[in-house]
């Protein structure tokens, strides 16, 4: 049976591979501009080794009985919500903030267990209106340039 390692061993290993990749990219930078990235990649590599060593020590101490306060497995809702945020970003980027935001707020508040539709709608409308006044009317943010429907919400 394969021995179970503390997750810091894997984390350190991934970081070490990352540092090696950074090092080989940094050495290709010409002149003095490469000094700091090379130094940083070496120091980061050293830190990764320390992380691995601490992970190995914890593996020995805890003998396979590891308790993590947060894990990837226990974060499925967080990652799902991150996916929603990404969809919202696409709506912001390709449609317009003023349509993507109310849809995102209505759906995400419902997903996050806000029971009352009335409260949901009132908050969404109020937020959108206040944001429009602050960012478009007062701050003159050229947000109308973003998204195909942005021009519809241009304030003259």
């Amino acid at each position: 049976m394969a021995k179970k390692f503390h997750r810091d061993v894997w984390v350190g290993t991934v970081l070490l591979i990352f540092c090696i990749a950074v090092f080989f990219t940094a050495v290709q930078i010409p002149g003095q501009a490469s000094y700091l990235p090379i130094t940083l990649s070496l120091l980061m590599g050293l830190c990764s080794v320390f992380i691995i060593l601490k992970g190995l020590r914890l593996t020995k101490e805890q003998d396979g009985d590891f308790h993590y306060s947060m894990t990837i497995k226990s974060s499925k809702y967080a990652f799902l919500f991150m996916f929603f945020i990404f969809i919202y970003f696409l709506g912001f980027r390709y449609i317009t903030y003023w349509i993507a935001t109310p849809i995102f707020m209505l759906l995400s508040m419902k997903y996050l267990k806000l029971k009352s539709w009335k409260v949901n709608i009132v908050i969404t409308v109020l937020y959108t209106l206040i944001c429009y006044v602050v960012f478009v009317i007062i701050l003159h943010l050229p947000i109308y340039k973003v998204g195909i429907l942005g021009q519809l919400f241009r304030y003259i």
Binding site: A33, S34, M44, F50, S75, F79, F81, I85, M109, V119
Partner: protein, 504 residues
């Protein structure tokens, strides 16, 4: 000077100066609360409005917005783990922990009082010592800036959490992220992979918003969906029952606030350092010299006072080289520089003598009054502000996400900034899962350019003077800063030795 001050005081009887002060204070607090928007955006917005105003009213309004904008960012940092700008990031460490424990009202009060004390000390330095400190500021060069940045990096050692290797890795990663883009000395592109939008490098604010706000949003979502937290506070029923100000707080916080204000004002008047570095250095120094360093990061009011007093004092400090030498050390002071010129006030010794002196001192007094007014508004509204922590997470989460997106876009009207913010939100969440602290990473990003560019400029300047070591010994301020750094590094060692002796 007394004559100029009395003339300056009389200008506050004018309605436009008083209105300017009020608009600056309230506007700054509002703009500071919005993630991504800071005092620089607010002051830039005021520029065209101020064109028709008197120089005193216009500059009082702008400097008021500067100090209250920094304060406003700390309110959301404390209540929602969403610092408005990098200057408030250090306050998040302890402020949010206090809010979670139902002490949000007290945290807001401590932030307010410390900001007022810091702001007032910064203003006093500005009024009394501006010309003298301006001359000292002129003695700073690349080597001194580099050493101050080194001091900032050293602070990281105190912010690393349980696993020092992880903390230092995060700080180094921050420095590496700061290297992305065109090298400021040689013009060589680094880690841009042919992407033009990366040539300018990554701004620290979207990274900060992602690491602090979006990652916290994901934590709140996970808690909400698993039924372990419907609001930010652990016990909503007790959230507003706590006191605004505990009895012993004044005695406990006064030494820290005074010390941090002086540190903040000093770091502030070094061009290129700025409020965020002042806040971190002061926080790190306070933790390192504290009798209870283990309380930092877990809701220490002393930690909040240290960072808040320093960042507001730094605002006053940053205006010293601006008014005396015409050196703007940050984007905010650069806009203020433009405003000074626009109103016919040419920075230099002329501003402190002759016909323009009453206007200059009126601006400084306005900065002082802005801090006092900010304190009155802040303390009286602490209870209302603390109510934010009772808002259900199901409402707060979408608002934070939407506000972070538009606030980040407003930084430079660029969607790439929003992408960076979201990517760092995910990175921040992964960092939390695997036990990495986000604070050292942010500090690394902020310090990277100051550290590298000034070191390389130092090398260039030292070459004709026989190299780095002879050049270093020819600069007394650099020697003093290095001694302070060594002293700072030695504090834990000395503390260990002393405690061992006491045990024996």
């Amino acid at each position: 000077m007394a004559e100029y001050l009395s003339l300056a005081l009389s200008s506050f009887l004018s309605i436009d100066v008083f209105l300017g002060l009020l608009v600056g204070v309230v506007g700054g607090m509002i703009i500071g609360i919005i993630p991504g928007l800071g005092p620089s955006v607010g002051i830039a917005l005021l520029l065209p409005i101020s064109f028709s105003m008197s120089p005193t009213a216009a500059l009082v309004m702008m400097t008021a917005m500067y100090t209250t904008g920094v304060y406003g960012g700390s309110i959301t940092a404390v209540l929602c783990h969403t610092p408005g700008t990098a200057t408030s990031a250090a306050t998040t460490q302890d402020g949010y922990e206090m809010t979670k424990k139902g002490r949000g009202m007290e945290a807001v009060s401590v932030v307010t009082v410390a900001s007022v004390v810091g702001g007032i000390i910064g203003a006093i330095c500005l009024i009394l010592f501006a010309p003298a400190l301006g001359r000292i500021s002129q003695m700073f060069s690349c080597l001194e800036y580099f050493l101050v940045a080194c001091f900032g990096v050293l602070v990281v050692a105190g912010l690393t959490g349980d696993n020092q290797a992880k903390g230092i890795f995060a700080a180094l990663l921050g420095l590496l992220i700061g290297c992305i883009g065109m090298d400021s000395i040689s013009g060589v592109s680094r880690f841009t992979f042919g992407q033009l939008w990366l040539e300018d490098g990554l701004d620290s604010t979207p990274i900060l918003i992602g690491l602090f706000s979006i990652s916290q949003v994901l934590i709140l979502v996970e808690k909400l969906m698993t039924g372990t937290g419907a609001t930010i506070v652990d016990d909503p029923a007790a959230a507003l029952k706590g006191k605004r100000w505990e009895k012993g707080n004044a005695g406990l916080l006064t030494p820290t606030m005074l010390k941090s204000s002086v540190i903040g004002a000093f770091i502030g008047f070094i061009p290129a350092a700025g409020c965020s570095i002042a806040a971190w250095i002061s926080y790190g120094l306070s933790k390192r010299t504290s009798k209870h360093p283990e309380e930092y990061g877990k809701g220490s009011i002393v930690g909040i006072a240290a960072s808040e007093a320093a960042n507001n004092a730094a605002c006053g400090g940053a205006m010293i080289p601006l008014f005396t030498l015409g050196i703007p050390g940050s984007p905010v002071t650069a806009i203020l520089y433009g405003a000074l010129l626009m109103h016919g006030l040419q920075p230099g010794s002329d501003l402190f003598t002759g016909s323009k002196a009453p206007t200059t001192y009126a601006i400084f007094l306005g900065f002082l009054f802005a801090n006092i007014l900010m304190g009155i508004i802040g303390v009286s509204m602490a209870r209302q502000m603390a109510r934010v922590c009772l808002v259900p997470n199901s409402v707060l989460v979408p608002i934070i996400v939407a506000l972070s997106c538009i606030g980040t876009y407003a930084l430079s009207n660029n969607m790439y900034e929003v992408i960076i913010m979201l990517v760092f939100g995910l990175i921040g969440y992964l960092m939390k899962i695997y036990g990495f602290e986000p604070a050292p990473l942010v500090l690394g990003v902020v310090l990277a350019d100051i550290l590298e560019s000034n070191f390389r400029r130092t090398l260039i300047m030292a070459a004709p003077k026989g190299g780095l070591i002879p050049y270093f010994f020819s600069r007394p301020i650099a020697i003093i800063i290095l001694l302070v750094i060594i002293g700072f590094a030695m504090v834990p060692v000395l503390k260990n030795v002393l405690s061992k002796k006491q045990n024996q």
